[in-house]
């Protein structure tokens, strides 16, 4: 059994190795029509850039990195020329015309906005010609190997029950070397995905046939990401099904969150595209879906006919009515650990890392400042966005202090949307635990947390006086809640950050904790928290 497990691991790692190597081995052949098409769709106006780049790349076969460096260096050099020229021109119209020729080079946008589209269209070599074989060597091996690694646990872990044996003695789950390698891999992948998708072109091409069969279009980096997300969640959900097979709450919850990811975040939006409708994730609520009110999205939805208008109304109703009502009845768990994609990944891929969240009082203080800060940021940004939209201002118009609505939107997108939720949120699983984003960053979680804290039927009930302060609950709380601090005092746990994953209840050896939706009255026993058992006198804790 153990040998099978090790073989599985080897196959899985082989898949990851091929995947990683492919990132560095993209090959491109740029034809004239592809080049022309790229120039026009990228709205590149600099003839210096166009001529120089055309002569250097068209009709040639070269590696992706070579093609990238040519484009980047030509963008820089042509930009310098145009800038110098623009500064010397007097006539304001002509000056602006010259400025418009400049390609502004930024590490976090130029690769994805300019380089990637050309690389994607011109990819050639072994991978695009052998898509399905390459798919087998990467995704196939990783998934099959992963399953072979996980499935023997059904027998190896012994009778069903909590088997967290060795978690703090294993390098992968206790910030050891394997954990650090995973950390580097996750962070590297997210940086590539968000900022350098040009290098991911081989993996992107390898899922092209899947994209075509669902949406009819070619695969993008976001399709690759969606596909990987669903695959990883599926494999790790199977791990959850084995680990928690004695716990029906975990089984149901894991199935549902997996369903919402695959159906709502992946298949339905892609199928909508097939029918010429906007790509739309019906479960993604503002302010997590921070660009919902961006003019491009509003206009796009309005222009898409009845379904688009329905989507727009649905999005607003979801945030303003459905979310708070559901939180009232069930707590924010209905979203965070039953529906949400970020939560879904955290509860599957992230489950092996849940014990790494920090439980100190200090981290709770930091958490409250940061997550509510992000919520304020999101609200202000959206308010500004709507103001410019309804005042019919261009979003690149200066509003005050030299800042435009676009600046605020793009800095939110970069800082919160990419760095916080992706690079840190998932990349740091092996260091800070699996809910970094949900705990410290997600503005929707902050919003629901406020509702959960002050107006909800949800609580974790503490069972009388049965707590023995062992600390399993606190240790395995992914949100860093010191559950024990409440349980040992006989208090119910009512915390804004609780996502109701149910693991504290699952790992409790004495049956002390239960997630419940009950009457609001008596939910918080702060006036009269009594640990059961002592009949001598009234005790206040």
């Amino acid at each position: 059994m153990k040998i099978i497990k090790h073989i599985g691991l080897a196959i899985c790692l082989l898949g990851f190795t091929v995947f990683t190597i492919s990132i560095f081995t993209g090959e491109n052949h740029v034809s004239k029509p592809v080049f022309d098409n790229w120039i026009s769709s990228s709205k590149i106006k600099s003839s210096i850039f166009i001529e120089k780049t055309e002569s250097e790349v068209v009709g040639k076969t070269m590696s992706t990195s070579e093609l990238t460096s040519i484009i980047m260096s030509n963008a820089k050099s042509s930009g310098e020329i145009h800038k110098t020229k623009a500064e010397s021109i007097e006539d304001p119209d002509k000056k602006n015309e010259e400025w418009a020729k400049v390609i502004w080079v930024k590490w976090n946008s130029t690769y994805k906005d300019y380089v990637y589209p050309l690389v994607r269209e011109s990819v050639t070599g072994w991978v695009p010609k052998n898509q399905s074989l390459f798919f087998l060597f990467t995704f196939g091996f990783a998934i099959i190997g992963g399953l072979i690694y996980i499935l023997p646990d059904y027998k190896l872990l012994g009778p069903a029950g909590i088997k967290n044996n060795g978690i703090f003695q294993h390098s992968a789950t206790n910030r050891g070397v394997i954990g650090m390698v995973a950390f580097a891999f996750f962070v590297g992948f997210y940086i590539a995905l968000y900022f350098f998708p040009n290098y991911l072109v081989n993996p992107i091409v390898s899922v092209d046939f899947i994209s075509k069969s669902i949406s009819g279009g070619s695969s993008s980096q976001w399709f690759l990401y969606g596909f990987m997300y669903c695959s990883v969640m599926t494999v790790f959900a199977i791990r959850m099904f084995i680990k928690y097979r004695h716990n029906k709450y975990q089984m149901v919850r894991t199935s549902v969150v997996l369903f919402f990811q695959i159906a709502f975040a992946f298949l339905i939006p892609e199928i909508l595209v097939r029918f010429n409708q906007p790509w739309f994730d019906f479960k993604n609520a503002w302010p997590l879906d921070y660009d919902f009110f961006f003019s491009s999205n509003l206009d796009g939805l309005v222009d898409s006919g009845n379904l688009g208008v329905f989507m727009l109304v649905w999005g607003i109703v979801l945030t303003l009515i459905i979310v708070p009502i559901m939180v009232y009845f069930f707590g924010k768990r209905w979203y965070c650990s039953w529906v949400c994609g970020c939560g879904g990944l955290a509860e599957t891929l992230g489950d092996p890392y849940r014990q790494l969240s920090d439980k100190s009082l200090l981290s709770w203080k930091i958490e409250r400042w940061v997550i509510h800060g992000v919520l304020v940021f999101a609200v202000l940004m959206t308010g500004l966005t709507l103001y410019t939209y309804f005042a019919e201002l261009e979003n690149w118009k200066e509003l005050a202090f030299g800042i435009t609505a676009y600046d605020i939107q793009s800095s939110y997108g970069f800082l919160i949307g990419s760095i916080f939720s992706g690079v840190i949120g998932t990349g740091f699983y092996p260091i800070l635990g699996n809910r970094v984003w949900c705990r410290f960053g997600c503005p929707l979680a902050a919003y629901m947390g406020i509702v959960q804290k002050f107006k909800s039927r949800f609580r974790i009930t503490t069972n009388g006086g049965q707590c023995i302060s062992c600390g399993n609950c606190s240790t395995y709380c992914e949100q860093g809640i010191d559950v024990r601090a409440y349980a040992q005092k006989g208090q119910n746990i009512v915390r804004a950050s609780c996502v109701g994953c149910g693991v504290c209840s699952a790992v409790c050896p004495r049956g002390v904790l239960k997630l419940e939706n009950g009457p609001e009255e008596g939910r918080i026993k702060s006036d009269d928290p009594i640990v059961f058992g002592n009949d001598g006198f009234k005790i206040n804790h």
Binding site: G158, P159, A160, G161, I162, N164, N165, G166, I167, F168, Q169, H170, H246, N247, K248, Y249, M251, V252, S360, L361, T461, N463, G464, G465, Q466, I468, S469, C470, G471, N472, S474, T475, R484, A485, Q488, G502, S505, A506, V507, P509, R510, G511, K514, L515, E516, G518, P519, E521, G522, K525, D528, V531, F532, G533, N534, D535, G536, F537, I539, N540
Partner: protein
Amino acid sequence: MKNIVIIGNGIAGVTAARHIRKKSNHSITIISSETKYFFSRTALMYVYMGHMKFEHTQPYENWFWKKNRIDLIQAKVENVNVESKTLNLDNGESVNYDKLIIATGSKPNKFGWSGQDLKGVTGMYHKQDLEAIEKYAPNPKSCKRAVIVGGGLIGIELAEMMHSRHIPVTFLVREDSFWNGVLPQQESEMINKHILENGIDLRLSSNLKEIISDENGKATAVIIEETGERIDCDLVGLTAGVSPNIDFLKDSKIEIGRGVKVNEYLETNIPDVFAIGDCAEQHEAIGLRRPIEAVWYTGRMMGETVAETICNERKAYQPGHWFNSAKFFDIEYQTYGWVWAKQAEEEGRFYWEHENGKIGIHINYNKTSREFLGINTFGIRMRHEFFDRALTDRQNVEFVLKHLADANFDPEFYKKHEKAIVDQFNAENNTNIKLLKMSWKRIFQRS
């Protein structure tokens, strides 16, 4: 402001300290030789098993003590001079007190077995025991087998610990079925089966004769009394119960029996000296309880009580209805009220077990008055508050069964067994109890 000194930083001593701080401005000092900071003893097993790090067993962060002005001294108290109200410590220092609380807990029993002090022979009680276990049984390569002597709660925990690192275990149990001095036969057999299911070499009706030493003074085998069989091993766990840890009081004037003798106010024979927790022995047992209660919950309650006595009014230790809990490998156990191992003449018993053999309940009631006396639950969680109230209100067994859905505390979506339970009770007793649907109103009626 008085100078309160507490010997022992377990749940009893620390609870006393916390409550004294809440109620007063007294100076508080806790002395312990085991660790500087309070940790949850019940969680030590999880450290070895890798579920937690030692720091996770500490319920309060390290800054807590200074912030709450509770001084911590890590030293061993050598003796107590009650005339001068002085404690002499093993580091040569002495500490004065106005009021002294003895909360030194227990130590593992050793019954004079040959070889009981060898290296590789340990209890599973102190943090130092955990360190010894880690040293002598780090993995199945260094520890080919562990022998555990004594079939109680700590014994089965130690078996689970060894099992988590794939170390083969031989488990010597004196009784003819696991823990059947406490558990009725049905539950005891359920646990026997579960122990075997986990691959433990369970030896019932087996006593330790002696432990054999190798040439370095380390345990290398045990001999079984009944059969004379020799079992080679690298670790011997002595888990045959615990007794009060009070040797340092022998020459003091404080009256001791098996434990420190206290009255119902937890006072010893010496004024201003109290004893609480595992080490305290009641002159008269309270209700059906034992004079010495080595349980987490009672330690906590005694701590709460002594704090009230010291800070406000003199209060008797009045534990409410008995409750306890444990976990046997994967089977959770809770008990409320009394379900004795042996059924008394006037008692009626009802036992239900699920076909999977891992879920069961055992209800005890008075045959004539029908009064509900207690329940054991296995593999099914029940609400403490429900049974506490049922016992206080002296409800009958029919009431309890009727409201079993209110009592259920299993996580959401778990299969409910109340109907099967009530059906079986009706069939066995010719009754017609109708199970009521769970009601929040009833659950919250008094909270």
